[in-house]
Amino acid sequence: MVAVKVEFLGGLDQVFGGVRNTKCVVQPRNEDNDEVTIRDLIDHLAEKMITNDKDMDMFIQEGTVRPGILVLVNDTDWELEDKEECVLDDGDLVSFTSTLHGG
């Protein structure tokens, strides 16, 4: 299990009860594996932190974060870091941000 910092940006905190910064202790979903991935963190957040079921669609669609949410690990786009399979270490910062469209 790992302890990571999580931040919700671009208004995504609204989906998580107004929480902007939090710390999570995440277990690996696959028990054969010691490693914890962002996929495990996403599941953890969906299970533990979304209190209102109708908000689920604002975070997860088709088994991963919905289109329009960018994920960053230690301020780096997860696309450069294996996306869902990115392995997390203690102290890592994972940022989730909604894409904004206003002008």
Partner: protein, 289 residues
């Protein structure tokens, strides 16, 4: 190209900043033609600072007219220009600030039929619009016409900025291959916006534009790397925050590899972004940049 005495006096203070690149930087601005799409909250501060800095030619594009409800944030307009086309109102203010600037007015609705021909006349595009349909269209057109793009958005107290299609970096589609579903989008009119917060993001845009036009990002001393700036204006008792995220480069599987004028004219952007967006686009409040 050179500067006259008045120009030295007007721009001297910025030419003294080492990173600005002195006379070459100023001439870089003077020779440049930029297009600002959207004369709203982002466009207001971006236009004022780019005009003040001495960009040679500025195109302003907007189909909308100034409304009273714009004025808490759209500081390029004023009470007496309510009802005027935003392009005309912005032009008037730009000229008052700096009569050296050539202003091209495009009072129209940007579409996949007219975008390419308009963009061709410019060196740099600023996306100050407020809806995904236009954001995809602007990015695709920048790719097809080989123009760098400073793209930003702001809602409530937050904002985002990316430099796209620049020095072989990503396009908007590389970052956002699938559009946000319409029902997941918050717009200014739903959520409101703090005037100086969107203004700050427009100011960030003007600074990144000046960097591009003065060759601050260059292979020799400071090569461009894709980033996203994320701004939050109301951070409880931490004040305000601006973070820089390191972003992906151009994606091999992205449409931008084969984007061209004809393809753009055949894309149904409304359908791509989702049905409900069609309504968003026809609601004058929601497309109020």
């Amino acid at each position: 190209m050179s500067l006259d005495e008045d120009e030295y006096s007007r721009y001297g203070r910025q030419m003294q900043v080492p990173a600005f690149n002195a006379l070459n930087g100023q001439i870089g601005l003077k020779q440049s033609k930029i297009l600002v799409v959207g004369c709203g909250g982002l466009g207001s501060s971006a236009l004022l600072y780019l005009a003040a800095s001495g960009v040679g030619c500025i195109g302003v594009l907007d189909h909308d007219r100034v409304e009273l409800s714009n004025l808490h944030r759209q500081i390029i307009h004023e009470t007496s220009t309510i009802g005027m086309l935003k392009t005309e109102s912005a032009c008037q203010r730009i000229k008052a600030l700096n009569q050296n600037i050539t202003v091209n007015i495009h009072s129209l609705f940007l579409s996949n039929q007219n975008a390419y021909n308009i963009f061709q006349k410019y060196d740099l595009i600023l996306d100050c619009t407020d809806n995904p349909i236009t954001k995809y269209l602007i990015s695709d057109t920048c790719v097809a016409s080989k123009k760098p793009l400073v793209s930003a958005s702001s809602v409530k107290t937050d904002g985002q900025l990316m430099i796209l299609n620049y020095q072989n970096g990503p396009c908007y589609r590389c970052i956002h291959p699938k559009p946000t579903k319409p029902e997941n989008i918050a717009t200014c009119s739903d959520d409101g916006v703090i005037g100086p917060c969107v203004g700050l993001v427009g100011t960030l845009m003007s600074i990144e534009s000046i960097k591009i036009l003065t060759n601050y990002y260059n292979e020799e001393t400071n090569p461009f790397k894709p980033i996203m700036l994320m701004y939050s204006g109301y951070m409880a008792n931490d004040g305000q925050m601006l973070k820089s995220f390191k972003m992906r480069g151009k994606m091999l599987n992205c449409l931008c590899g084969k984007m061209n004028k004809e393809m753009i004219q055949n894309i149904n952007y409304t359908q791509f972004c989702g049905k409900i967006d069609y309504d968003v686009l026809n609601n004058t409040h929601s497309i109020d940049f």
